[in-house]
């Protein structure tokens, strides 16, 4: 018996990502957003999550990918952080998967720099690879980027 981990999975531009399931507060469909002028393009807007204001980060922009084609609405993966909840906007939601720790590997050096700094590990699943996203880093980097742009 090896240790296993559970991940909430989702797709961004056909890439298969996962976030530690204990970090995920909820998954909700597209919500109306309020744009934040002057903020980095990664920050898509603010959503009202039952009275709580949550910042929505565009994962496509964060990963340096082209934005979602017009007419398709992203989903919200709301993750808990030390500073409250943050929503990750993704293309589509997958299942919650349970994977064994022994099929994990570090991200390869050849990945794009933008993607590699967010991905803490890769699980080799049958037929596809699961990229594990570090939500803290995804958020922190978004803040830093804005800082340099200003």
């Amino acid at each position: 018996m090896t240790d296993t981990a559970q991940f909430c999975t989702f797709f961004v531009a056909d890439r298969f990502f996962g976030v530690d399931v204990t970090r995920v507060q909820e998954v909700i469909r597209y919500q109306e957003m309020t744009r934040v002028p002057l903020a980095s393009p990664v920050i898509r807007g603010l959503i009202n999550l039952r009275g709580q204001i949550v910042t929505a980060l565009d994962m496509r922009a964060r990963l340096g990918l082209a934005s979602l084609s017009a007419g398709r609405l992203p989903m919200n993966v709301v993750v808990r952080t030390d500073d409250g909840a943050v929503s990750l906007l993704v293309d589509e939601i997958g299942d919650v998967v349970e994977v064994a720790d022994d099929c994990r590997e570090d991200p390869p050096e050849t990945m794009s720099a933008e993607a590699r700094e967010l991905i803490s590990g890769i699980y080799k699943l049958k037929g596809q690879l699961l990229l594990v996203l570090d939500p803290e880093r995804a958020i922190a980097e978004a803040a830093v980027r804005r800082g340099t742009e200003n």
């Binding site: 949550v54 958020i139 803040a143």
Partner: protein
């Protein structure tokens, strides 16, 4: 342990803790009025209740401790003992002991290992002292009857005397003696009961978790309401529309109500300070009177929690370091009792808390020396520091002004921690002090989480909230007027608001939003104040004012100075709250403030040579150009020539109910014959210390930025020098010189003022 027992324990803990907090206040109040029976009775009942319940729950140590306390209290209540500071101290330590036991009970329902026998012994000492003669004390029933004029003091005393040998109640005795009618006793008894019941009936205890849950549920309700409203708007069913409108109203009210439940008065934090101040004052052998103003100022629950420790620290510091020993105070001609004032109020969308003492104050020189000796700043830097800057040093880590470390302060938890904690919730701390007169520490907690009134504007189909405190007025220009009244000074739009030049900032432009296309039909200007500077914010539309609940932005958006937070609008959508100061800085409105402030200081205007400043350029003759700092311009006015009058050999006009002397810079006033067709006089109004003078110029040309260093000095009177402004040589007007030449006494009043 069964569930039922756990519930009993929890109830017991909650109730006891609450009662104990009240006890602290009561004891301190008692010290100034040791015979207030109502309070003594209240304290006795509280301890009695705890004793009773602890016996029932098998908490023997707690029972023993409270039993001793109860015995002393009952003798105090009956007037057999008179409350002295020593008794108060022991009783307070008993209360502390009860607290510590309760804390242990809260953890694992045991009483903990601490030994309280010393407190019990100390209490028992007072029991052994001989009974004091039954003090003046008429029971509170007697007092009430007395105050109603139903009986006389002699009758009460006689009844009290009889009561010593007679176990019956005083009311019965009084009736029996025929001193008072039974009705009067019944009335007095019911009054007594009413006073006891009134406080407990008006409020109930609610679990905070439940409130948070309610808040979230209301949020959900708001969203559902919105969906129903949308459905209703599409349908044709009028009764459904009416019902949904009603749902709309009720939801909004419910939302507001629930939001308000999260607010707490700051008095909740302050309530423990009388005890804190008393203990420290006693330990330091000082006399301190604590006054509190604005206890009812509402703060969000989370903020109340966050400021508890910083405030306690400041209060401790004030008593320990601030207020001097009574002897010292008397020697300095101050009353021997020091005064500590806590003040809280809402201002400028912020909650202000001030802690001021009338103690020794802080000597900036000492602070500098200390900072140098601790290696916090270099000696050179210390020399350059202003007194105000020096005071700020007390917030540096590792700084303590206390000469010696006492058990009260100077234990390493310094003002730097206070500052850090206050800043953590987005607040600021400031210290003001006058040596020998006292110190005031001002804490400002920004609007975060507080409910504030705000103006809702829209720009580019987005709504923004502007805190009402920054709002001065709204200006709406329509049609032709909208186009014509906006003038441009080198690309910077301005509007003449009652003669003042009001710089305009376009919200869309500042926030990087696309400009509205098409012809401007209407122009909405929101006149705002940032620091002491006004500017006009041009927005697409002005909606309404609303009470909004300010929510902080996430960490990832903190760096955006243009926004103070966000709020959820009535329809459930998020709207950003504009930070007026940040916005002004972004639009470079503020940079001029510095010049304006310096100019206000009088001499400052000429010395500020390095920075750029805005100059008003005007024509004085056909091709003569002159300029003066814009900061010295109070207003630009036009006067009809036939309004010109003479007084004391000067040209004057009537202006705002006063006489405005004119100084003719063009030299045309005397020669000109008044004719109706003549253009009005262009006058630059200069004001200082309530006096104004008008400078008559030929025309106003422009406002330009000037770097003062490029100036050539001039020996010509009335002219400071000349410089190249906007590509042309321009004389710089010596405003003060010109005014002095005309009216030598103009500045006299100013220097005297």
């Amino acid at each position: 342990m069964s569930i039922g027992d756990e519930d009993i324990f929890r109830e017991f803990l909650i109730e006891s803790t609450e009662n104990l907090d009240q006890l602290d206040r009561d004891f301190v109040a008692l010290e100034s009025n040791p015979t207030a029976r109502e309070r003594l009775g209240g304290i006795f009942r509280t301890i009695h209740t705890i004793k009773g319940t602890s016996g029932f729950l098998g908490l023997s140590k707690l029972e023993a401790l409270t039993h001793s306390g109860e015995s002393v209290l009952s003798r105090l209540r009956d007037g057999e003992l008179v409350l002295t500071p020593e008794i108060t101290s022991v009783l307070l330590s008993m209360v502390d002991g009860v607290r510590r036991i309760l804390a242990c009970v809260a953890v694992d329902t045991t009483e903990g290992g601490e030994d309280f026998s010393s407190i019990v012994e100390a209490l028992d000492v007072f029991l052994k002292t001989p009974k004091a003669a039954a003090a003046q004390g008429a029971g509170s029933l007697g007092e009430i009857l007395l105050s109603q004029g139903a009986i006389t003091q002699e009758e009460v005393s006689a009844a009290l005397e009889q009561q010593k040998s007679d176990p019956r109640k005083i009311g019965t005795i009084l009736i029996e003696r025929g001193a008072v009618k039974p009705d009067a006793v019944l009335d007095a008894l019911s009054m007594q009961n009413d006073a006891r019941a009134a406080v407990s009936d008006s409020s109930i205890r609610v679990d905070v978790g439940l409130l948070d849950k309610l808040m979230n549920l209301v949020g959900e309700l708001v969203l559902t309401r919105n969906q129903i409203l949308q459905v209703a708007a599409q349908g044709k069913d009028t009764s459904f529309v009416a019902t949904s409108q009603r749902l709309n109203l009720i939801t909004t009210e419910l939302q507001e109500g629930v939001m308000k439940t999260r607010m707490q008065p700051i008095g909740n934090v302050w309530s423990k300070f009388p005890r804190v101040v008393r203990d420290i004052a006693l330990a330091c052998k000082k006399q301190v009177k604590l006054d509190m103003v604005g206890e009812e100022t509402d703060l969000d629950r989370t903020i109340v929690e966050a400021i508890k420790d910083p405030l306690t620290h400041i209060v401790r510091n004030s008593v320990d370091h601030g207020i001097e020993l009574p002897e010292v105070r008397v020697a300095q001609g101050k009353p021997s009792t020091g005064r500590l004032l806590l003040r809280a109020f809402h201002e400028g969308g912020q909650v202000n808390i001030e802690i001021s003492d009338d103690g020794g104050g802080i000597d900036p020189e000492k602070i500098r020396q200390k900072a140098v000796s601790r290696g916090i700043i270099s000696p050179e830097r210390a020399q350059r520091m202003s007194d105000r800057e020096s005071l700020g040093l007390i917030f540096m880590p590792g700084f303590s002004t206390a000469e010696k470390v006492t058990n009260v302060s100077g234990r390493g938890v310094g003002m730097d921690v206070v500052k850090t904690n206050v800043e953590k919730i987005g607040g600021t701390v400031d210290v003001q002090s006058k040596p020998g007169q006292g110190t005031t520490i001002k804490i400002k907690i920004p609007l975060t989480l507080a409910i504030i009134p705000a103006l809702i504007v829209c720009s580019n189909d987005e709504r923004f909230a502007i805190p009402q405190v920054s709002l001065l007025e709204l200006v709406r220009l329509e049609g032709e007027q909208a186009m014509k009244s906006i003038e441009s000074i080198h690309g910077a739009p301005v509007y003449r608001l009652r003669g003042n030049l009001l710089p305009l900032v376009h919200l869309n432009h500042t926030l990087g939003l696309p400009e509205r296309s098409g012809k401007l039909e209407v122009l909405n200007i929101v006149v705002l104040r940032a620091d002491d500077r006004q500017f006009g914010l041009v927005v697409d539309g002005v909606n309404d004012t609303e009470e909004i609940v300010v929510k902080p932005l996430g960490k990832e958006l903190k760096g955006l100075s243009a926004f103070a937070g966000a709020t959820i609008m009535g329809d459930g959508k998020v709207a950003l709250i504009l930070d007026v100061l940040g916005l002004a800085q972004r639009a470079n409105v503020i940079s001029e403030v510095r010049d304006r402030n310096l100019a206000g200081d009088g001499a400052g205007a000429e010395t500020n040579e390095e920075s750029k400043r805005a100059m008003l350029v005007f024509g004085v003759s056909r091709d003569g150009r002159m300029a003066m700092p814009l900061s010295m311009v109070a207003r630009l006015e036009e006067f009809r020539r036939d309004g010109l009058e003479r007084s004391g050999g000067q040209h004057v006009v009537q202006y705002r109910g006063e006489i405005l002397p004119l100084i003719d810079l063009c030299g045309t006033l005397d020669s000109s014959d008044v004719a109706d067709g003549d253009p009005p006089l262009q006058v630059v109004v200069y004001s200082e210390h309530g006096k104004s003078v008008g400078l008559v110029v030929e025309r106003i040309l422009d406002v330009v930025e000037q770097t003062a260093s490029a100036m050539h000095r001039s020996s010509c009177p009335g002219i400071l020098g000349s410089a190249v402004l906007a590509g042309k040589v321009t004389d710089l007007l010596d405003v003060h010189g010109v005014i002095r030449a005309q009216n030598a006494h103009f500045f006299d009043g100013a220097s005297a003022a």
